[in-house]
Symmetry: C2
Subunit: 135 residues, 2 copies
């Protein structure tokens, strides 16, 4: 019962996954997906597992994982490495929180600049430019 029907061409698979055909090939070259056998010089066929794999990659990317990190996650795929997977997700979470803190500092600084800018008119120099000059 493990034989899911492999009926999709690469073009249909790409379409279904919402990515470019070249992206599929690129993932294959990267080792993120393996290519099905080619029946006597014919055309490769793909199945639901391949579609799920593309979804996995894209979901992980949306959560901020790089393709190299996705490759690490895929090594844990058999389900017996739950702890490692969680640890990696925790590292990524810490990472995301650090980036959040950075962006919040930047937001505050930009907002301050925008408010000061042109509030004081008749100035020799634009406060925004001056602030960047000095910082």
């Amino acid at each position: 019962m493990n034989e899911t029907t492999e009926t999709l061409t690469i073009g249909v698979l790409a379409e279904a996954a919402g990515v470019n055909v070249e992206t599929i090939r690129f993932y294959q070259r990267k080792g993120l997906m393996q290519e099905p056998d080619r029946p006597q010089g014919g055309i490769r066929r793909y199945g639901d597992a391949d579609l799920a794999r593309v979804h996995f990659i894209k979901s992980a990317q949306r959560l901020g994982f790089s393709l190299d990190e996705v490759a690490d996650l895929l090594k844990l795929e058999d389900g017996s490495h739950c702890t490692e997977a969680r640890e990696q997700a925790e590292r990524k979470l810490a990472d995301v929180r650090a980036r959040l803190a950075d962006l919040q500092r930047i937001e505050g600084a930009l907002q301050g600049l925008v408010e000061r800018c042109c509030a004081a008119s008749g100035q020799v120099q634009c406060p925004l430019i001056a602030a960047l000059q000095a910082a």
Copy 2:
């Protein structure tokens, strides 16, 4: 009184600005800084204005501006385009806020995954992996 002393070599300038010599040259190629004249095939000298320029670029980068955007800001440098500068900063602020919102969604999703992961032990598959599979 506009003649600030131009005494720094490119190495000293880079050191003072905390960047690589090659970075200075790269900014010159990009048109973000102009190169001082070369006295009869000699060595170029840099002054405080050049140092301020590097600081400006680096500050703007820290606020999330790309080098192309920095180039745009630099065109407004004479102080008579305060409004344009503010508009650009406002666009960047909106941009930063959008990225903040994205990251916050990601944070929530990752945190949820980490919490569910291994909370349910004895599972066939790791919930984190399964969630990415399905998403």
